[in-house]
Structures are given as C-alpha cells and as structure tokens.
Symmetry: C2
Subunit: 325 residues, 2 copies
C-alpha cells in the first residue's frame, strides 16, 4: 500500500502515511495531538464475542504503541445478513464493547455493510502530548529490546482451525489476544523509552525489521529469550503454520534483512516470523532505564521480556537472530 | 444496527450511537469537540478516480452536516489484488486524495484487506465548538426546510449501469456527488439553523423522516419544489429505479410515516425515496432566517432550495408530501 499513499505537507500532521508508524498523529495545539488508527479483518477465532474482543484490543493497540491514550472509536462492520443470524453480530459487538469499556473508550458510531464474509474492526482515536509521542523510529544503539506478550498466535489459531489444539491452548491464546496493551503503554510512557511498535501481521521479525529501518539501526534478537504461547513450540515443530509465516520469513530473508545463527531450527525461524493478532509491544529502551521499564511492566501485572539489543547499522541487515546472549 | 449498538454513559460523549445523527461528537474541553464518522461502500460509478472522489465527499458530508470542520481521515480499503490491477486502487486513492485536498483534510493512514469485491471509504474526524453543534433533532414548527443538492442519484447511477443514460447525464450526476457540502455547512453555521442532516441511502424522505422523529415534529414536503438531477425525472417515469428506492418507500409507508397528496404519481414518490450517494444537506432553518441562509448558500455558489416546512407533530405521520405550497 505504501506506493499508493498520499503525503500531506500540513505541518500539524506529525506522523502521516509516509512513516512506518502504527498510527497517524495530528497536532491540535502545543499540548495535544490526535492519534488515529484503523484495523479490521475476518474472524480469527470461532467465538463471535472473542472475535469482537480481539478485534477491539488489536485496534486499540496501535494507539497504545505510540504512547497515547485511546478516547473514542467507530465500529466497522461487514456482515452477511442473509447467511448468519444477527445474534452473531450482536455477540461480536458485545465482545468489542467489553474491551472498549475496559479501555475507557466511548463508541461514537460506525458503519455496516452487507458482505459475503463477516469482517469487523474499529477506527480508534486517541490523544497524546505532542512532545511525548513514542514512534517506531527512535531506537538507538545500546538500547535493550523488551517484548510485552508471547508470540505464536498464528500457529495456535491455525491449530484451532485444524482441530489440533486442545481447549487450554485455545484459552491461553484468546486471553492473550484479548489483553489490552494499556498497562504496557503506561509503563513505557512512565519510564521514557526511545521507540515502540506493536507486533501484529508481519510477525516479531517483520515489525522488528520495520523498527530497525525506521531507526537506522540493526537489531540483535535472542531466539531463546522470546516468550512463546503455551503449545506453540510443539505445534511449530510439527509444522502447523499459517501461510503468512513463510511468506513473512521469505520476504525478510529474500531482501537480506534477517540472518540467523546456524543452529536455530527452521521451525523457530518461522515462529519468529509468525503473524500475530493483537500482539504485545516491542519497546526499545535505553539500557540504564531497562530495569525501570521491566519493573513498571511487572508491577502492573504485564509481561516484560528482554529479547534483544540495538546495534549500529552496518549494512542492509536489519536483524541478526542469535540463540541467546 | 440500532438494536445492537452499545450506549455509553461518558458525559463527554455529546452525540453517540443512541442518536439518529450522522456523526458522533465527543467533548474535549469547553471550546472543542471531536466529530467522527465512517462510511464505505462498493463502487457506485465506473471510473475509479470518480469512485474515490465520491466516497470521500460522501464520508466528509457527515461531518459537514453537524456544522463541523473535517480535519483528518483514514482510508478503508478492500481490494481483490489477484483480480484487479493495482492501478485501479491507485486511481481510487488519487480521486479521494483530490477531494481531501480540496477539503483541507490530512490523510493519517488507513487499512487495506484483500477482498473479493472492492470497497472504499473513509473514517473522518472533524472539530466543532460544543455549543455550535448542529444536530438532526432541533427542527421546530414554523421552520423552513432547505435542500442544498438535487436528488435522483440512485435513478441515474442505475441508468448508467444499464446503459440507459447518456454521457451528459452521467457527468452531471458525478459532478454532484463529488461536490463537497463544505460551503453549505459554512452558510448554515453562519446563519444559525435549528437542525440538519445529509441526504444519503435512505433517500430524501427517509432522512427527512429521521429528522422529524428526532425533533418530535412533522414535516411538510413540497414535491414540485424538490430539485432533480438532469434526466432523473424521465428515467424515473420509465421505471428505472434501484431496488433500494421501493424498499425505502415501502418501509416509510408501511409504518405510516409518510402520506402523499393523491395526484402525486408513483414514480415521483419513488424518486423522493430514491437512495442518494453524497447528497446535499437538508436544513431546518427558522423562517425569519431562511432568506439569510438562501443568500449565504447562493453567494457561495451552492444550491439552496426551499422544499418544505416544519409543523407540530400530531400523530405517527412524520411527513406529509404535497405538490406545492
């Protein structure tokens, strides 16, 4: 989509379509800027209320990733009225409403169309101080990389669709996807960090590569330290992957953006590139503040895992994956 | 959708999903409120750039209808990458970009998904003074009803699809749909009016009925005074209607919301209920300010047609359509 975006020379558009950031930012005045993002997709889980909740948490995540507070949202609904009972839609909106309520976000309205395949998502608007925007492009050499949620969502949701995952594995994945990045963002803003993004469709490697490119740095990731969803390693070893994982990995390797330590098995490489829905934040924090960030995350009951560090960029390689440090 | 919306008790949510208004309104402080709306649909015209432009003008219209100024927008894209050349999408976004530039709106980003059928629209955010919001619910007995654009869009676009309309008729319809309601909103805010809404999918009668219900009044519409797109009357006489026109009319007549003077022909009734894309504003203005509103509209080169007046509500009838006054 990047090649068809239109750029604006409006000086108040602090972050627009020509950035790799998760959301756009528009300055209202010296103290306030609007942060906006939109996301919608086809169902990722069977239960309609869970789908609505996951879609809402996922849409809100772009706002949190920029250190902003979400305020209002609009529903985006595509629904096959003739083929599915309206109760399904009611449940989707109920699930989404629960997450919006938890986030303190007011629903302002929405739009629905008749469509063959159901889709749901939200356009979300938040607010941030223009001087305290966290972007994807600020990572600096020496920073520690902290991830706030496990990965492996694509593998587990694929296993669920193929009836290969038990109820416990499914529950853990759904709980993770429903979890808001609100507290992670709070801890991040409190500490003061250099960069952040949320991990979604391009996988941990894809979003990390975007951070590296936007920041003009190289990232070293520690494969053994990356937290994994329960069951996802075993499923990955058995080759249970959505199609997107290998296309994510092929894309990154094809352009020389990622190299792996030789002993890292293929399934682990795929898992690191595995598409995530409603994933955690990947945060780049100055080393001397990394303990403070981890404490801030843990004291809020949120995950915080050091998964790598930031280096000077020497060549086109954005990411070097090693086993551990 | 109304039955599955969720209401919020947030006191800053001035206009939410439990209203019939075109957009939601959220108070930021005593002087500013966010106004937000979202709209997207499948192509209504053949030319991709025109489609993008019409979709943008249509999405912005909800903001103008509330007397607000649009500020930023997000693209919503569904596109069959495998079946259509990417140039089509480039053209859609270019057409939309032209209208956003004309409106002074900055594009903040967007989201695109692969979909069998192309769809395009925008989530738009504007700003308004909380004391100067124009809602659909303020029409008062004695008001004059002013319409700012001709109707007949559904008839003409149906004729285009069936190769029944010549290039001149098509050009006039596209030009009308591309036209922003910006100047109409400016004139309306300058004059000070009681209520407004924009005329879209429910047709003039449907949106007028919503205004009547939201305001607790009855509207008298003058069929002979309603401006029509070139060619639309002749096409309507020949029975060229989209399916939506008769369902709009049946719905309103079925619940006793509309009555017609007997001499008004069936095709005219259907035309009044004909679905519109990117239609004009229907404004309810106190009689003593109606000349000022019309002057304000005409001096800006915008249409302004007195099409009815507001009465006290006596029964379930929201609208009485007579030939003229």
């Amino acid at each position: 989509m990047r090649q068809v975006d239109f750029q604006s020379d409006d000086p108040d558009l602090l972050v627009g379509t020509d950035f790799l950031d998760d959301a756009g930012v528009y300055r209202l005045d010296d103290e306030r800027a609007l942060v906006q993002s939109v996301d919608f997709f086809t169902p990722v889980v069977d239960d309609p209320a869970d789908f609505g909740a996951v879609a809402a948490a996922n849409a809100l995540s772009d706002i949190y990733a920029m250190g902003a507070k979400p305020l209002v949202a609009l529903n985006l609904v595509a629904f096959p009225e003739a083929d599915l009972p309206l109760d399904v839609l009611v449940d989707i909106l109920r699930g989404s409403g629960e997450i919006l309520a938890e986030a303190g976000v007011a629903l302002m309205g929405g739009h629905s169309i008749d469509d063959r395949e159901p889709k749901f998502g939200l356009a979300v608007t938040g607010m941030v101080h223009p001087d305290r925007i966290v972007t994807i492009g600020g990572a600096g050499p020496g920073d520690v990389l902290v991830l706030t949620k496990p990965i492996g969502v694509g593998v587990v949701t694929t296993a669920i669709k193929r009836d290969l995952a038990g109820p416990e594995i499914e529950r853990a994945a759904v709980a993770l996807m429903r979890e808001l990045n609100a507290k992670a963002a709070e801890a991040m803003v409190e500490t003061g960090v250099n960069a952040a993004t949320d991990v979604t469709g391009f996988g941990l490697l894809g979003h990390a590569a975007e951070m590296a490119d936007a920041s003009g740095v190289s990232l070293q990731l520690w494969a053994d330290e990356v937290p994994l969803l329960p069951g996802s390693r075993e499923l990955a070893e058995r080759g249970v992957f959505p199609g997107g994982s290998s296309s994510n990995l092929d894309y990154l390797c094809g352009k020389g953006a990622v190299t792996f330590e030789e002993s890292i098995p293929e399934y682990m490489r795929l898992l690191l590139a595995d598409a995530v829905t409603s994933g955690g934040l990947l945060i780049s924090v100055p080393e001397d503040r990394s303990t403070s960030l981890l404490n801030g995350l843990h004291s809020r009951g949120t995950g915080g895992f050091p998964v790598g560090r930031v280096d000077i960029r020497r060549d086109r390689r954005a990411i070097e994956v090693i086993r551990g440090h």
